[in-house]
């Protein structure tokens, strides 16, 4: 008889007896189990509800971090999602995000331990955006929408409580950024004249998908009077040309006003990528000086070559999102190690028993 591999609905996490919910909130603070904000106490009944929604057994392994010898089970994901204030129907998106983050090319250990201070940004596409009311519009990266605020918060709590990314212990970020509380957006597919990000990345349009990206904080591309696609490209390119960006992917969240300008002139995404690649460039020696390279690493021939801030046009991921008024798009630079973390897109599982 082999009972070891038999999946059960039994929750195996340690049960803690407390007096009441208010006392539980304080208890979780004292244990160091919060991100600094109060949490919703995860009762077994509520946790079970979350697992039932995603169709996961508690012991399902959603991912592993070999370098830390950590295993992420569905039960721990559900507990932290409850704590974050999620609704049960957010679970499939969270599960897909965790599975995506545990793909080797994402390098979860690196991006969540680094002094470079990135956070996983989640970009959601497909029917889930409307079903879960995930914000893709006004105040895109700001507060006020439960799905955006709590799905990202669940990711952070899982990173801290399950993966060990405790600030100052395994999370050594020098600066961090506010997206480490929550960093979730959706693409505005109705206002998008191009293929959605998830479709470009191989997911059928009828499915919901989540793309995870290890990014810095968003930077505005302020171009309110530019008026032409060519000038917009210059604004985008110059916003990218900061200090030490060593390749990898960038996210460009194009606001509706900027999308309209490109659309009117008939630009494709490929043309935008190509033009940004071309413009976001400096002589290699100038890049090295700005990036603080030692003199012995700057060679005479560097003046003859060009450094492109995205190494290939395809490294720029474009999504349509943001508020209807204002000429502000946003660029999200990659982790300091650039190509050592690549974005991963994963379809969101379908609950066959749900309506």
């Amino acid at each position: 008889m082999d009972t070891q591999t038999e999946a059960t609905w039994e929750l195996t996490s340690r049960r803690i007896e407390l007096d009441d919910p208010a006392g539980a909130m304080e208890f979780y603070y004292r244990q160091g189990w919060t991100d600094g904000l109060p949490v919703v106490p995860p009762t077994p009944a509520r946790v079970r509800e979350f697992l039932e929604y995603s169709g996961n057994f508690p012991g399902d392994i959603l991912g592993v971090i070999p370098a830390r010898n950590r295993v992420i089970t569905a039960e721990k994901v559900a507990i932290n999602a409850v704590m974050a204030g999620c609704l049960p129907n957010y679970m499939p998106v969270i599960v897909a995000a965790i599975e995506a983050m545990c793909q080797e090319s994402f390098n979860l250990h690196g991006i969540s331990a680094t002094t470079g201070g990135t956070a996983p940004l989640l970009i959601v596409n497909g029917p889930a955006v409307q079903q879960l009311n995930i914000n893709c519009g006004v105040n895109l990266f700001g507060p006020g929408v439960r799905a955006n605020a709590t799905i990202g918060r669940a990711i952070r709590l899982i990173l801290m409580n399950v993966c060990g990314s405790i600030p100052g212990v395994l999370d050594k970020a020098c600066m961090g950024h506010p997206g480490k509380y929550s960093y979730v957006i959706a693409e505005n597919e109705e206002g998008n004249p191009w293929e959605p990000l998830s479709v470009e990345r191989g997911i059928p349009a009828s499915l919901s998908a989540v793309t995870v990206f290890a990014g810095e904080a968003p930077h505005h591309v302020n171009s309110q009077v530019g008026g032409t696609g060519k000038r917009l490209v210059l604004s985008i390119a110059n916003t990218m040309m900061g200090t030490v960006y060593l390749g990898g992917n960038w996210i460009l969240a194009l606001c509706p006003e900027h999308v309209t300008i490109f659309k009117k002139e008939g630009w494709t995404k490929a043309q935008i990528r190509e033009a940004v690649w071309e413009q976001a460039a400096r002589p290699f020696d100038a890049f090295k000086r700005i990036a603080g390279f030692h003199d012995e690493l700057i060679h005479p021939e560097d003046a003859e070559s060009t450094y492109h801030y995205i190494h290939t046009p395809d490294d720029l991921l474009i999504v349509t999102a943001g508020g209807g008024a204002g000429g502000f798009s946003a660029l999200i630079p990659p982790w300091a190690a650039g190509a050592d973390s690549r974005p991963v897109t994963r379809a969101v599982g379908v609950c066959i028993d749900c309506d």
Partner: protein, 94 residues
């Protein structure tokens, strides 16, 4: 008497198993230096190598480098260091 309010532990709960240190060797012939791939870590390790050469003139020193600082060392690289050296020095240079 009121019912207790039951909540669940959100952490991994599994204590990391404590690894005993390998026995210290009284004699050795080969030392491996594993560079973690950070800029300038090679300079630090070269200095370490020259100090070791002074202290242990008969010992061979092998130098290894991770492909990058931002990923763990591969099992293949760790196996190679283990196969080719009696002892190895690893650390973080930043």
């Amino acid at each position: 008497m009121t019912e207790p309010f039951i909540v669940l532990d959100p952490t991994l709960e599994v204590e990391a198993t404590r690894q005993e240190r390998a026995p210290r060797l009284a004699t050795f012939h080969t030392i491996g230096l594993l560079d973690n791939g950070k800029p300038n870590s090679d300079k630090l390790l070269k200095k370490v190598a020259s100090m070791l050469e002074t202290c242990f003139p008969d010992v061979q020193i092998n130098y290894y480098r991770k492909p990058g600082a931002y990923r763990p060392a591969s099992n293949a690289l760790l196996d190679q260091v283990a196969a080719e050296c009696d002892v190895a020095l690893v650390g973080i240079g930043d």
